[in-house]
Amino acid sequence: MTTRIPRAELAARIAADIPEGSYVNLGIGAPTLVANFLPADQEIILHTENGLLGMGPAPAADQVDPDLINAGKQAVTAVAGAAYFHHADSFGMMRGGHLDVCVLGAFQVSERGDLANWSTGEPGAIPAVGGAMDLAIGAKAVYVMTDLLTKTGESKLVAACSYPLTGVGCVTRVYTDHAVFDVTPEGFAVREAFGDNTVASLAELTGLALAGADPTATDAASAASPEED
């Protein structure tokens, strides 16, 4: 059994890669954990696609305001400097490429950066897409946060997605419990292997040819500096 870091640790690892001043959307589910690890002394502005920039943490139980929720429909707060807007403006922000980073969950990510995270395509399943497709194509850097393997041990990193796609060639980097992978023109490159994971062991787990990451490669999130909107 190779090293697997806990979700919270992975969330902290992602948080550490997000530069101050970034505009960030954290997808529903596990990615919302990233917010807990953003450094308190830095200003990173959270977007929630239901109409708020400057989302703050959950309120105290007696301060829940049903009109103030996040995309996962959980109660949240707004920080000083926040702004509310309607849905067309909010998705214009995303589609227009103004977000620096979004963090999404995944069922599968392909070598060319295709993302599948909205539907398992099972017959009879009720489809629901929400903002997944808009987020996938809408941020300068799209980070995926996921376990590397499914519960039945199959790799979520794949040569080509078998699940219905959310977006094509849109993923920048994949943060998994085993390692961090960059999506490069040549496929996945191991950016950081946790614990006793190695490029070789990860290649075996995923069944994919993997490159070691080029340490001189530009950090996508840093490149997507807030100066450019």
């Binding site: 109409g51 996962g72 509310y84």
Partner: protein
């Protein structure tokens, strides 16, 4: 004197005909015009097409309208929720049609209807099955699909305050679809907590100017907002999030 206020929710939904397309604002519970929906249930119109981001939560509001089998077709982005059991049952029984639209395309299509845009090219959905049958075009090296406006006969919207000219302001993320839906419907009906005198709203901050609104009705405070815990929300795997308390864990 212009006075778009009507005395009660029943008067507000008068004239909604069988077969109408009705936009309903709200994202989950926030901004959902529950009192107008209840009045629509009582009013009896059926065979409706509903445009909403979701397909109902729990047993109240939109879910109750669905449960009465008044809805033939729903256009939305996220029907499947932890508490969308009413929709789920109808869908599996083949008793409701679903048009699934990515949330941003849904919003932009509604906005396009209000703004007189004939169609627009969007990058969202390209390469996915939701682009099937769409016209594709490469513009400036990027691929887009063509999407058309969504018009409605009626919009039912929940705001916070309004004046007798129909200017409406919202609270926080309850604004969501209100401004665009009021612009996209032939007849727009807005419930608010409170009607305020003309001139009481700040003209710099009117997300829905009265030109888009036909009827406003005050419904007072919305007790259902405090009914119980704040239900709604699923994680990536579709597991219900125990809300008010669950949210606590994320602090």
């Amino acid at each position: 004197m212009i006075d778009k206020t009507v005395p009660d929710a029943a008067a507000a939904v008068a004239g909604i005909t069988d077969g109408a397309t009705v936009m309903i604002s709200g994202f989950g519970r926030a901004g959902q015009p529950v009192e107008l929906i209840d009045a629509l249930i009582a009013q009896g119109a059926r065979d409706l097409t509903i445009v909403n981001n979701n397909a109902g939560n729990g047993d109240a509001g939109l879910a109750a309208l669905l449960a009465k089998k008044r809805v033939r077709r729903i256009v939305c982005s996220f029907p499947r929720q932890s508490d969308s059991w009413v929709f789920d049952g109808l869908y599996r029984a083949g008793e409701i049609e679903l048009e699934l639209v990515p949330q941003g395309n849904l919003a932009e299509r509604i906005r396009a209807a209000g703004a007189g845009i004939g169609a627009f090219f969007t990058p969202t959905g390209v390469g996915t099955e939701l682009a099937d049958g769409r016209e594709h075009r490469t513009i400036d090296g990027r691929e887009y699909i063509l999407e058309y406006p969504i018009h409605a006969d009626f919009a039912l919207v929940s705001g916070w305050k309004a004046d007798r000219w129909g200017n409406v302001v919202y609270r926080e993320t309850a604004r969501n679809f209100g401004p665009i839906m009021t612009s996209a419907a032939t007849t727009s009906i807005v419930q608010v907590d409170q009607i305020v005198p003309l001139g009481a709203l700040d003209p710099e901050s009117i997300p829905t100017p009265g030109i888009f609104v036909d009827r406003v009705v005050a419904v007072g405070e919305r007790p259902w907002l405090r009914d119980d815990v704040f239900v709604g929300g699923v994680d990536l795997e579709g597991r219900p999030l125990a809300a008010a308390s669950g949210a606590e864990e994320n602090r």
